[in-house]
Amino acid sequence: MKHLRQLEDQSVYILREAYKHFDNLAMLWSMGKDSTVLLWLARKAFFGHVPFPLLHVDTSYKIPAMIEYRDRLAREWHLNLVVGQNKDALAAGMNHTLGRVTCCTALKTNGLKQLLEQKGYTGVILGVRADEEGTRAKERYFSPRDKHGDWDFRDQPPELWDQFKTTFPPGTHIRIHPLLDWTEINIWEYIKLENIPFIDLYLNKGDGTRYRSLGCAPCTTPIKSTASTVDDIIEELRHTTVAERSGRAQDEGRGMELLRKDGYM
């Protein structure tokens, strides 16, 4: 438990730095376990309040239960929810059969970019974790994006002690990653410790499958699992040697490096 509190202390510190330094700040919320823990940490940092909007980039292909859950928490926790969608791409018929990277770029990356541009957010908080995949392992807590939202991983700013990059030229923005040091197990341990409400798609409900990672319905497949409680999940993760995102199609090949360089979360 102590190690969870250590992670919490660091994430809370980062969130408070973000809130102090960015006038136009927002947090991305995909309703998945990570970004929901992130949202919970914001409530920790600001003593029950969430003093910035939560952005959901809706691809329209999300599992319906996720939208219900989103709207319920938004109501109960008094969240300022902002939903964005790349309507033009959808109207033009964008879907995953046109290519996964193409679809993710259009609906998620570009959907996000449109939303950021429209609202002029200069700081965006995201729940990415370093243990998810290789390029995320190399992220900074405060990671600048240029005018096009691109990530220059060749030249990342130094991050010393608890001093972060909080100043940036006009037109650019900063991605803030308070969960970098958390692992998948830590997330579940914390959900249990704090009793955080989560979507039950993560649990096996009798058919011997559950989702380990949630994305769009067509591109996320459930895994075989009998885990039907948080404890079961934690136990399962302790023994598994299968990568978390093995059910996510975008990670194939160099998909993630290409996506993230262009500003994917």
């Binding site: 060749r154 130094p158 990568a243 490096e257």
Partner: protein, 612 residues
């Protein structure tokens, strides 16, 4: 991954010269402890076969295409590793000197380090630089790993030669490795498994060395350091938020905030979804507290107990490493950050550049270029609270921001007593003993519709200082503000009647008395409009003394001159040439609004933007 339940976290960084085998060691450590995800090893091996290149353990974590193509690590990767009940975050730092800033970012968050040296190549430039920087960054626990022993026939004499040379280098700045371990990362000798090829070595493996690193807990036993990160007023509670960097605090504790010298007791410790209610906090924790009194405290102040106050000054000596794209220059201004305090500073002097190859020193340089280490003096625009890094880690270090980027970091080695030291001490003693009435500053501000402030007008003779001061006072009062013109002449014949005229020492004593009177008036909630007329040409020094004594009341420093001239440092507004007094008055009113002294609307009860 590993089946162990973790109860503790430890951040480890792997450093050393490029190609000495850091990424290989990391990959091997994971492979030999069964910590890689299923199929990862096979997948990378297959890609290598397909591309017709030899498999490298380093490819497991060098995720970027470019890294694999060039066979180097460009940026640090955080990797996660569970072993014997501990969760390690291991950071593989790049060894190439071009990426030193990435190595430093990785090392700055580490609690312990592995420093690799290639047995065949021996101690190289970056081996030394990294060793030196670990010490500068405060990473005191580390093990030296002599790698590629297979390339030197596993010979003990080669190992001992490197050990001797490197220990001698480290000893020059008092660094002492916990262990020196001979290994072959590529072949797996002494990584997770004991080597068959080096029977002469009885010490721990790399994995053993990791387990032996200790989690640093001593910070909680130190005196309290609680730098204020922010002040929140989301609901009825006014919460001071921050991370305790040393020591402990508990409900009822009497806190002193430096450099403002404000004091109050902790009323509650606030938290969300924590049962039972917290009554104390300790180093490392991000907490929120409320106070029994509504005092004005800002981000950047350091709360401590009264017995062990931090240092307060405008200047200190430091050891700094520079990462900026353009060189650090003597005389230039940078943004200084000490924990949560941000203040403009100037590089007052560069004393010497330290060559990390042989620790030789070079004097007389006016610039510090990228990747150099230097000893220098920084002078801040306003007094700040800090510590020496030899006694406190977090409050004893700083970064410099150039333009938009963190461009350098360093540790404070010595406080420099500035000429305000005596007055600052007087103010501190006086504030600690100040007897307060029932009425707080917040209530006064609510009643008056503004906060207290000092408008201090400096300048040479006949520049219109008095005229502007009178105009400003009249305008403020006409607007319904509580303002008062404090003219130095009025003290001269009364309060200063015992002082002989014209002597320098006396001028400074006049400034001291003037400052104390201004402090009193500010405490009544007034906007004090004042000129430095009686101080003649010593106005700059007098103004500084007055500022020190009235601190932390906001001082708006106005400078007037007939011809364009170099204004005193720290002037907020400069008027030069023939003055348009109405425009000048408006400009000062705007500044008072900007600083939150005047609420925006007259008549209405003020809601101030800044927190108190």
């Amino acid at each position: 991954m590993s089946t162990a339940t973790s109860s503790e976290h430890l951040n480890i960084v792997i450093v050393g010269h490029v190609d000495h085998g850091k990424s290989t060691l990391l990959g091997r450590l994971y492979a030999d402890t069964g910590s890689l995800p299923d199929g990862k090893l096979e997948k990378v091996q297959a890609i290598c076969r397909q591309q017709g290149k030899e498999f490298e353990y380093a490819f497991l974590f060098d995720a970027f295409l470019e890294e694999q193509e060039q066979g180097i690590t460009i940026d640090t990767a955080r990797t996660f590793f569970n072993w014997k009940g501990r969760q390690y975050i291991i950071i593989d730092a790049p060894g190439h000197k071009e990426f030193l800033k990435n190595m430093i970012s990785g090392a700055a968050r580490a609690e312990a380090a592995l420093l690799l040296i290639d047995a065949l190549e021996g101690v190289k430039e970056q081996s030394k630089k990294h060793g030196y920087l670990l010490s500068l960054l405060g990473v005191r626990q580390f093990a030296v790993v002599v790698n590629k022993m297979d390339l030197v026939g596993y010979r003990q004499d080669v190992f001992e030669g490197i050990e001797k040379e490197y220990r001698e280098f480290l000893a020059q700045f008092g660094a002492n490795p916990e262990r020196i371990i001979p290994v072959s990362a590529k072949l797996g000798d002494n990584i997770a498994n004991r080597s068959q090829a080096m029977a002469w070595y009885q010490g721990p493996t790399v994995l053993d060395a990791l387990s032996a690193f200790k989690k640093e807990m001593v910070r909680s036993e130190q005196p309290l350091r609680f730098p204020v990160q922010d002040v929140y007023k989301f609901d009825a509670r006014r919460i001071l938020a921050g991370r305790i960097t040393a020591g402990r605090l508990k409900i009822g504790d009497h806190l002193v905030f430096s450099p403002s010298n404000k004091r109050a007791n902790i009323r509650t410790i606030e938290a969300f979804n924590i049962e039972p209610v917290l009554t104390s906090g300790e180093a490392g924790q991000s907490v929120g507290i409320t106070l029994d009194e509504q005092i004005f405290v800002e981000r950047g102040e350091i709360a401590t107990h009264q017995e062990r106050l931090p240092l307060v000054s405008t200047a200190f000596k430091a050891n700094l490493f520079w990462l900026g794209k353009r060189p650090l220059e003597e005389g230039r201004r940078y943004l200084l950050r000490v924990v949560t305090k941000e203040v403009e500073c100037e590089v007052a002097a560069i004393h010497r550049i330290i060559d990390t190859m042989d620790l030789s020193q070079q004097q007389g340089s006016k610039t510090v270029i990228r990747n150099q280490v230097a000893e220098l003096t920084l002078r801040a625009k306003a007094p700040i609270a800090f510590d020496l890094s030899s006694s406190f880690e977090a409050t004893g270090r700083f970064v410099l921001v150039d333009d938009y980027d963190i461009a350098g970091g360093g540790i404070v080695t010595e406080m420099i007593r500035d000429d305000q030291e005596v007055l600052r001490e007087e103010a501190r003693r006086r504030d600690f003993a100040w007897v307060k009435g029932e009425v707080g500053i917040e209530e006064r501000a609510q009643q008056y519709g503004h906060r207290a402030a000092i408008v201090l007008i400096t300048g040479g003779r006949h520049t219109g200082k008095s005229f502007l001061a009178k105009k400003l006072e009249a305008r403020l009062v006409a607007d319904g503000r509580h303002a008062y013109l404090l003219d130095g002449e009025n003290l001269r014949r009364g309060l200063d009647a015992d002082l002989a005229e014209g002597q320098r020492g006396q001028t400074m004593e006049m400034a001291r008395r003037y400052g104390e009177v201004a402090r009193l008036l500010a405490d009544t909630g007034l906007i004090v409009v004042s000129t430095t007329n009686p101080f003649g040409l010593d106005y700059a020094e007098a103004a500084q003394s007055i500022k020190t004594l009235v601190h932390p009341t906001p001082v708006i420093a106005i400078h007037m001159s007939k011809l364009p001239e170099e204004p005193p440092a720290n002037a907020d507004i400069v008027f030069s040439g023939p003055a348009d007094f109405d425009a000048a008055t408006r400009r000062i009113l705007d500044e008072l609004k900007r600083r939150g002294v005047l609420a925006q609307a007259i008549g209405a009860k003020p809601t101030f933007q800044y927190s108190i």
